[in-house]
């Protein structure tokens, strides 16, 4: 049996796919829901940041209360406070760098798509600067405090090494993701240069 196929464009445009109709009230509700989701996410970030700072201050205070205020104790306490502050900076940066811009139709779509990719790639590639570096002063002080006590040096070597490996892995994984996006950007650029 031979079938005369319908023209693809006709087939596409005539498919049974009823369009939804949204009233202004429904659109308002949906927009509000989106804003609420973002607000809730931000709130949780603030709560998490607050908890990290509170925990850091608590550990710092505990360190100072449980031992004499000598150089190692002050260094460790200072380290935990810097760690808390570092977490706040990292969280603020995370929000700043990963919040997508509002969508509109002012620019051509592929330009908009490329700008999004570039924004994400740059955020991933610079992850050391804005996500790892804020924690480093805290870690350096905490682990560095053992330098005051030669006997304790070996006890922190393993945790320090584990921290270093974890942070290196974070940087490596983000750089790999950035490289994938770079490939996509290069592909888009090739497409845009075609004449």
């Amino acid at each position: 049996m031979t079938h005369t196929p319908t023209d693809p464009k006709t087939l596409w445009k005539e498919q049974a796919l009823p369009a939804q109709t949204l009233t202004p009230a429904m659109l308002e509700t949906r927009a509000r829901r989106l804003d609420d989701r973002i607000r809730t996410r931000n709130l949780w970030e603030f709560v998490a940041g607050g908890l990290v700072v509170a925990a850091s201050i608590a550990i710092a205070a505990l360190t100072l209360l449980s031992s004499p205020w000598n150089a190692p104790a002050l260094t460790i306490a200072g380290g935990f406070i810097l760690l808390g502050l570092g977490a706040l900076v990292a969280m603020w940066q995370l929000r700043r760098r990963t919040s997508p811009p509002r969508i509109d139709g002012a620019a051509p779509t592929l330009g908009h798509y490329r700008a999004e990719l570039v924004r994400q790639r740059d955020a991933l590639r610079s992850v050391f600067r804005w996500y790892i570096a804020p924690f480093l002063p805290g870690f350096i002080l905490i682990y560095g405090a053992t330098l005051f006590d030669a006997g304790a040096l070996w006890s922190v070597l393993l945790p320090a090494l584990a921290t270093l490996i974890f942070l290196s892995w974070v940087v490596y994984a983000n750089h790999r993701a950035a490289a994938c996006i770079d490939t996509e950007i290069a592909d888009l650029d090739r497409t845009a240069q075609e004449t």
């Binding site: 049996m1 031979t2 079938h3 005369t4 196929p5 319908t6 693809p8 464009k9 087939l11 596409w12 445009k13 498919q15 796919l17 009823p18 369009a19 939804q20 109709t21 949204l22 202004p24 429904m26 659109l27 949906r30 927009a31 989106l34 997508p100 509002r102 969508i103 509109d104 139709g105 002012a106 620019a107 051509p108 779509t109 592929l110 330009g111 908009h112 798509y113 999004e116 993701a177 994938c180 490939t183 592909d187 888009l188 497409t191 845009a192 075609e194 004449t195």
Partner: protein, 175 residues
């Protein structure tokens, strides 16, 4: 900023003129019915919001296409990140997927449509946008304006799309 009444009137006009296109685009980017409806509503919501900054920089149709594509691109972004690099296909290196075709079902337009959807799903973002605009009967100049591709690149892609669809439909016309 345009007043709310003007925005609502403009949105109503756009929804009436392009509602069908928005529904089809949502379907092309998301096959799961509930998620598809959600995406369609998201497009409407972003479109409605974006009208506050619409200053006739382009035609309402072009603006609508751009917003819709941008919302859909963001929707599939996460999925695309998970897709392996070799998961994409190029326009002139593929055929319409036909894994389910049998002599009994191959004549069915619905199956053709399914195959078309399957193809669209595997295309790179730039190709996907051009294919969808082509299927919606947007001319080459319009596609260039919406996507930002050069007219030459659009023409090349349309040529490949036509060849691809012809290959797929020829197969269907076989006895």
């Amino acid at each position: 900023m345009p007043d709310q009444t003007k925005i609502e009137r403009r949105y109503a006009d756009i929804a009436a003129d392009h509602g069908g296109m928005i529904a089809r685009m949502a379907a092309a980017y998301e096959r799961e019915p509930a998620a598809r409806q959600d995406l369609e509503q998201d497009i409407h919501m972003h479109l409605w919001r974006s009208l506050a900054v619409f200053r006739d920089q382009c035609s309402p149709a072009t603006w609508t296409w751009r917003v819709a594509h941008n919302v859909c691109a963001r929707h599939v972004e996460m999925a695309a990140r998970r897709r392996p690099a070799n998961g994409w296909v190029v326009l002139d290196g593929t055929d319409l997927p036909d894994s389910r075709a049998t002599p009994e079902t191959v004549t069915d337009d619905r199956l053709t449509l399914e195959r078309l959807y399957a193809l669209i799903d595997r295309l790179r973002p730039a190709d996907r946008q051009v294919v969808l605009l082509y299927l919606e009967d947007v001319d080459a100049a319009g596609i260039a304006e919406i996507t930002g591709l050069t007219p030459g690149a659009v023409a090349t892609r349309i040529h490949r799309i036509k060849a691809l669809l012809a290959r797929g439909f020829e197969k269907e016309a076989q006895p």
